[in-house]
């Protein structure tokens, strides 16, 4: 088995109590299958999973849902992510759904996946900031947006991944001249993606494709 394959099935979600509700009746937490106490890292992970599940090419949904239903669910996923990843929007959403979220929290199953908690730091994030959407590719700019949305500073990523701060800045800044050689860059991108709970394979693939296109364009 390849070394990076999961040795045991770990569920990307810990929220299992939505019962029989239409997508328009579900809370944002139910839509992303997370608990109302989810950290930003858990939200990001759940969003990645939901986006993948309801992707246009997904094998898991086309024979169960109509194209219109898939479209509707995808819209709901994007909206849930946009609100929950924004500290102030999430706060006001939680306040307006206080009662129902309280019930959900109580009936929540024990998490099947242990994600280390990373405390959110008080850095205000603009509600108007663009959200990483399903069709966008991972490039430096996108990674920075996701990181900022999760209120994680670059120093923390550097400490966690042991990648130098300068290298991370070059990656985010898409500084083609200063990026490390490809063989190292792959590893750095993978480490960075994992620290943000992103799909490492897709991040590396997207970033390198973006890099190639940029190189072609400049030459």
């Amino acid at each position: 088995m390849p070394p990076n394959w999961p040795v045991a099935i770990r569920c990307p979600s810990s929220f299992d109590t939505m019962a029989m509700k239409g997508i328009d009746e579900q809370t944002y937490y139910e839509i992303l299958e997370i608990s109302p106490g989810a950290t930003s890292k858990e939200i990001q992970k759940a969003y990645e999973h939901a986006r993948e599940t309801f992707h246009a090419d997904s094998l898991a949904v086309y024979s169960l849902f109509s194209p219109q239903e898939i479209q509707e669910i995808r819209g709901a996923i994007e909206e849930a992510y946009r609100v929950l990843m924004d500290e102030s929007l999430r706060k006001s959403y939680d306040q307006s759904h206080d009662q129902i979220l309280g019930q959900q929290q109580r009936s929540e199953m024990p998490p099947e996946i242990a994600v280390p908690l990373r405390e959110k730091k008080a850095s205000p994030v603009s509600a108007e900031g663009s959200v990483h959407t399903g069709d966008e590719i991972y490039r430096g700019k996108t990674l920075r947006q996701i990181r900022e949305r999760m209120s994680i500073d670059l120093e923390t990523i550097a400490q966690e991944t042991r990648i130098s701060l300068k290298t991370l800045e070059f990656i985010e800044g898409e500084d083609l001249e200063k990026l490390p050689p490809l063989v190292y860059l792959r590893g750095f991108l993978k480490g960075y993606a994992q620290s943000l709970a992103l799909d490492a394979h897709k991040v590396v693939e997207d970033y390198l494709r973006f890099l190639n296109e940029e190189k072609k364009r400049s030459s």
């Binding site: 088995m1 390849p2 990076n4 394959w5 999961p6 040795v7 045991a8 099935i9 569920c11 990307p12 979600s13 299992d16 939505m18 019962a19 029989m20 509700k21 239409g22 997508i23 299958e33 999973h49 939901a50 993948e52 599940t53 997904s58 094998l59 898991a60 949904v61 086309y62 024979s63 169960l64 849902f65 109509s66 669910i73 394979h201």
Partner: protein
Amino acid sequence: MVQKVQSTQSKDSKTIWTIGGGKGGSGKSFITANMGICLSKFGSRVILVDADLGGANLHTFLGLPPPVFTLSDFIKKRVKNLHEVLIPTEVPNLLLLTGAQDLLNAMDSKNVQKRKLLRSIQHLEGDYLLVDLGGGNSISVLDFFLMSDGGILVVTPEPTSIENTYRFLKSAFYRRLRHSVSSQAVKGLIDNAMDQKSEMAIHNPHELVKAAKRVNEEEARKIEIEVETFQPNLILNQVRSRKDIEIGFSIRSACQKYFGIRLHYLGYVVYDQDVGYSIRRRRPLVLENAHSRAAQCVSEIASKLASRHQMSFQF
């Protein structure tokens, strides 16, 4: 009439796992045989039941010749006791019972004698009964699948296999709901939900509950309870990449969004050429090559089932 979990609550607390769904060739018999061996090796008494009408060859996966004794010998009274038609295997505590047609007929029948047969099977001594249902979709197969509150679906990460699994799951799901209600009006709504070409606007389980609530609030609640307690299991077989593994999570999420059910993703088995070699040699993989990647995956799933069994005797 669907026999519910009384079987799992019999005096010796036997756990019944039914392995079905998907399509032929998704690896149900391979997984049933090898999982049974693993459970036996963990110290449990296991009976494997071959109920695959389309291709009853569980014996081949166990390295046994075509069985001489089957259930029909018991039915036709050629043997006195049911345990006389149980075939021993090379693994201690692992027995095989064959006779798919007789078994499924019994499921389908109101005949007292045949119902007695089912009861006899349920009273066989053992900790686990693993029933290989094959890829069929008939009423008796569905009822057997529903006999335990959660059967196991074996799926490969291919569109055809996933499509067939959803088709099977839908049939089992609605059949279960239909048995839970007594109102003819609500039964009619369930039939409409199953018929995608119906003129009524019930396209999914959620719309069904809404419609049922308008007709009979109490019956609608029964449906909701059935949905909450219906928790089938999923094994993804022949996975070749990490992306394939993730399809299992996606199926789980899709089922939650569509049916409102909690599908347990038990695990995956990697694509491994050793599986083909072991089948050709008619030797169970977990005995022939226990260190192969696929054998390790099966063993891991079996240990999960075993620990769940210890945690809760009621399946």
